[in-house]
Subunit: 336 residues, 2 copies
Amino acid sequence: MNLLHIAHEEPSARLWSDRFIEQLTSLGDLHITENGGQLSEEALLERMRSADVLLTGWGSVAVPPALAREPGAVRYICHMTGTMRATVPLEVIEAGVPVTNWGDAPANQVAEGAMALLLGTLKDLHHHVVTKREGGWGIDVHRNGGSLRGLRVGVYGCGAVGRRFIEMLRPFRAEVLVFDPYEVALPEGCRRAETLEELFGSCSAVAIHAALTAETRRSVTAELLALLPDHGVLVNTARGDILDQEALFAELEAGRLRAGLDVLAGSDSLPRDHPARRWENLILTSHQVEWGWPDDYEPTSELLPLHEVCLANLRRFAAGEQLLHRMDRERYERST
Amino acid sequence: MNLLHIAHEEPSARLWSDRFIEQLTSLGDLHITENGGQLSEEALLERMRSADVLLTGWGSVAVPPALAREPGAVRYICHMTGTMRATVPLEVIEAGVPVTNWGDAPANQVAEGAMALLLGTLKDLHHHVVTKREGGWGIDVHRNGGSLRGLRVGVYGCGAVGRRFIEMLRPFRAEVLVFDPYEVALPEGCRRAETLEELFGSCSAVAIHAALTAETRRSVTAELLALLPDHGVLVNTARGDILDQEALFAELEAGRLRAGLDVLAGSDSLPRDHPARRWENLILTSHQVEWGWPDDYEPTSELLPLHEVCLANLRRFAAGEQLLHRMDRERYERST
């Protein structure tokens, strides 16, 4: 089988580890093209149509929609990462070319990042850092602080990430409430909130683990945020546009709530001089809190979860078996 | 039964909640004396000798050693918090007056604080905070970062705190190694390190949960720290003097290790202009990361664990039953 990756410039170092390339090479004929961003659409299409499988992901060129009409040899597009809106057009999926993504591969890392933000915000780490840097020492812990023990923690969205998060939260002995209109069975020991109003009205901390869809967009409104108690905590490692960011920022600026935000509305950034950068009740992690793999420490022979999903799917494809995490219109639109 | 607390100045607000006072009043005749620091030793002794039970803890005056020779009515000293070296002299214990402390009441909070520091350090939260405050955004996650998944985490000391920490760590799927010369049975799923050399030589992160004793004092040496891998993490929520702080600071200043320190050598503080305050690979929490009770958010009718231990012991004392967490010389010396 012919495997092709066309990088826009250089192939992503995070994605293309030696160990991964070695495994791919054992499965097929691997071609990696650099600087694909400089090719014309026709040249791109010609190269793509010669491969059995396109490997896309971080750093890929976009697949031209014209591939849908005339896919050539292409019988599978294995998107190695999450969102693919900028890379694989829906037309290709609707034309019947099988397309998959990493499914729940990042769930562990995102849930771990959410736990780091929840604990970091609850323990006022931004305030600790600033106090010490500026020559102070003790902080006023009567005002803020907090413990997960007995705390009511709301989880908005109970997919793969939400479930891992709840698993990690369990030994801290919080009371967990879950709002998820899609899920029937909740993890053991959780209570269901029937509405977002119930979730925000009952909890002292809320973690967002929902996908960004037309329904969830800006679903965390000023009214919901107002239901959280003083010094309540909001953690978002999902998508910034799920909440009304101006409303949250107003609560943070007033010192009423605390937040740990890995993601922000729009382009996931803030102007250089935005005052929110210095609010001590806010921890910002620039969509990176979920990064960091075990092998940052010691290079091992392990593959990352996203590599495992990709390799498993290529083996399934080669054997004519059903693919994991195959996209349709609904999943495509929810994969943000 | 006559219950007496003599505060040095004002009674500690953290200790003397309304709910606790209400419960104590239902058990006996409670007297709280303010500004005991202004009394002469003779006046203190006279007051103390009139009580059946002395309640000591944060904010107490010290019990004069002379009470050992002539305890008067005192038949029990209920020390409501942890270390008592500055408050209850060993002579009183050796004279046979029963003395107890909070036992494992703070274990949950200390373990939770250690988890906050472990995740905060691993996710480089100090560096994130500074980067954002100074107008930057993304950070170089290839250099540091990290995930607990598959990470080898060493636990130095497997008492009540170490066990809670291991419980909290479990769903993150780290590999846990434990060094504790006193403990026979380890929690499920952990591996024993026979020496500190093995612990530091095998792990990428180490959390200290040992008591400060003659044996553990400065037991984490420069040689042990040198065994940790680059960007390895040290977390200390136990006592600062367990480690060679100058050696750790040298590693931190060089950027080789990362640390989350709730406690420091000596008086648990740093000069206002100490450069360590600004090292982005260090999070300092001024012995407060374990503070913050669930009722910081919503005052409830719950009592804190330390209150529960105190009340349970007073009930046992009244019923002539065996007391919990009774001190002898060895426990006294290990209770730091």
